[in-house]
Symmetry: C2
Subunit: 333 residues, 2 copies
């Protein structure tokens, strides 16, 4: 049965291979048989960039180009700009009265993010409350299915708590509960193997990476530090080059052969890296080219985003109308 | 020099004599020589009524009728419905990223209100963050003058902090700092003399109070508990009947004479109360009558509120435009 799906990305940087493996590829598949909305989340990007909004604004069209370059089709997927949907802010205001501060402070995802961002005593109010804003996003599109990593499950829970409260106040089900759509894809590690791929950690390959960047990144990629001579047996586990081969190389039998050889000894890192590099160069070349063609046509990008957003305005305003109706606040037309 | 003034009331109940003395009377004077905006604050009313929105929605037209009944003139004062101005919610979202959680928790006004409302561990997020929403209200109208009691000064301070941060990000002064307009009128005590007049404390005389309600309220009004016999000398200080005579009786010489007599002894509470009752009956009769005439014409009320709100939409959208422009977020038109 087709679902209404909401996904999106904070517009704080161009997207990278981690996004590609973790979500973009799935969206390209999902768009054929579902009603899919994708939100370029500039408002959410601002929650930890309040004093530096240009970091967000300058990345909006980058993210859109990334979407189009990997095959998200604006005729199948509705792509919206979050800040251009006033209903999201309005719903956030209403929902904020239904969630306690201590509930927000207990949210495991937010707690972990606050710790990792080292806000110290300076947590922006908008950051603490962003699960409320996410609930507004999800419910405003009547999404019943939300692709998430398992670290995002508390967000779904928070959303459904709000849905139930609003429906209780309304005396009927005006909002839709959502279910997480958990990916079975493991999170792609960064090139350094230390943590997930992340632009701010400098271990990422963006979708617009140049040939040289791809070459340099593969060259410095983390392998097996105990694999000193070609003849030594090597380890696959934690070896980023093999993780990437698994994730991206189309010939799984070839990859299996390489693994066996590597573990046995006699296969050098340089050889494996050159196979990975060739595969990444081939995969990223058309994406990079499409991406730069899109970026060169700003008017077309704006047009695509305007059309998707206009559709989103209608959709989200109708949910806002229902919530205001339930609250008795549609006094003026 | 004329100012741009923003005031308003939470739409959580009909207005009472405390509002009349503390703010409504001044608004009637201010509207002649200033650009005055008055906000019926339904969104703010919801911050501690999230699960009971009808308490707010059913009072919107009550408050509007109160305004009109006391002489706030929609041709001079722009009366807007807060929830019908989407720019306020949007600005709140942007400002929330510029204010820390600990800054909100330190706000003395919010701290005092949280204590008095006995939320315990269940402080709604929207309540903690309402100073941000107030800053959105004030700045969205470019108000440079905000009538407040001295307990509300921290709100003005919070607003101006946000103004300075936004202007710093913008690199120019797109928002206007505001100054408090402190009233020199003492807060009107409730009929029980225990605390300020408040509908929820049951010690209030609403502007629509019936003759019987006025009579009953004056009858139970707190005087001087040591003034047992008419011949005893009585105290004026803390004697609510005299406080009200000071506030409402047009003949100050008469009131001064009553005070002297009362302190000397020989003037009974009943006599003083009957003078106060007559004065209140006379003052409230025309207000009550106008109020009920307005309430009977709902279409006219809606029309007045729609016109004021439409003007408010234009005004607040223009400020939102400037803020989004400064943040680089006016990509789509």
């Amino acid at each position: 049965m087709p679902h209404t799906i909401l996904t999106g990305d904070r517009a704080t940087g161009p997207l990278h291979l981690g996004h590609y493996v973790g979500s973009l590829k799935q969206r390209v598949e999902l768009q054929d048989h579902n009603q899919q909305y994708v939100l370029i989340a500039d408002l959410q990007g601002l929650t930890d960039n309040g004093l530096n909004p240009s970091k967000v604004s300058k990345n909006i069209l980058n993210v859109l180009s990334d979407y189009l370059a990997v095959g998200i089709d604006p005729d199948k997927t509705t792509i919206c700009l979050q800040s251009a949907l006033p209903a999201l802010a309005e719903l956030t205001m209403y929902y904020a009265n239904l969630v306690t501060v201590s509930r927000l402070e207990r949210n495991p995802t937010v707690k972990a993010e606050i710790a990792s961002k080292q806000f110290g005593q300076s947590i922006p109010a908008g950051f603490l409350t962003y699960p409320i804003s996410q609930a507004a996003d999800i419910t405003a599109f009547r999404a019943d299915s939300v692709p998430v990593g398992d670290d995002q499950l508390p967000m779904i829970e928070q959303t459904n708590e709000i849905v139930r409260k609003v429906n209780r106040v309304a005396g009927k089900d005006i909002l839709v509960e959502c279910a997480p759509r958990l990916s079975n894809v493991a999170r792609l590690p960064g090139a350094d193997g230390k943590s997930k791929m992340s632009k701010s950690l400098g271990n990422a390959l963006t979708l617009g990476a140049t040939e040289d960047e791809i070459r340099a990144t593969v060259k410095m990629m983390y392998t097996d530090p105990t694999h000193l001579r070609v003849s030594d047996p090597g380890k696959i586990e934690g070896n980023v080059v093999f993780t990437y081969l698994d994730a991206f190389h189309p010939d799984t039998e070839l990859v299996q052969g390489l693994k066996t050889h590597y573990m046995r000894g006699g296969l050098g890192d340089n050889k494996v890296k050159s196979i990975l590099e060739e595969c990444l160069q081939e995969m990223l070349r058309p994406i990079r080219e499409r991406r730069s063609r899109f970026l060169a046509d700003k008017a077309m990008l704006i047009d695509i985003l305007s059309r998707g957003t206009a559709e989103g305005v209608v959709k989200t305003n109708s949910v806002l109308y229902d919530v205001k109706q339930a609250f008795g606040l549609n006094l003026l037309k």
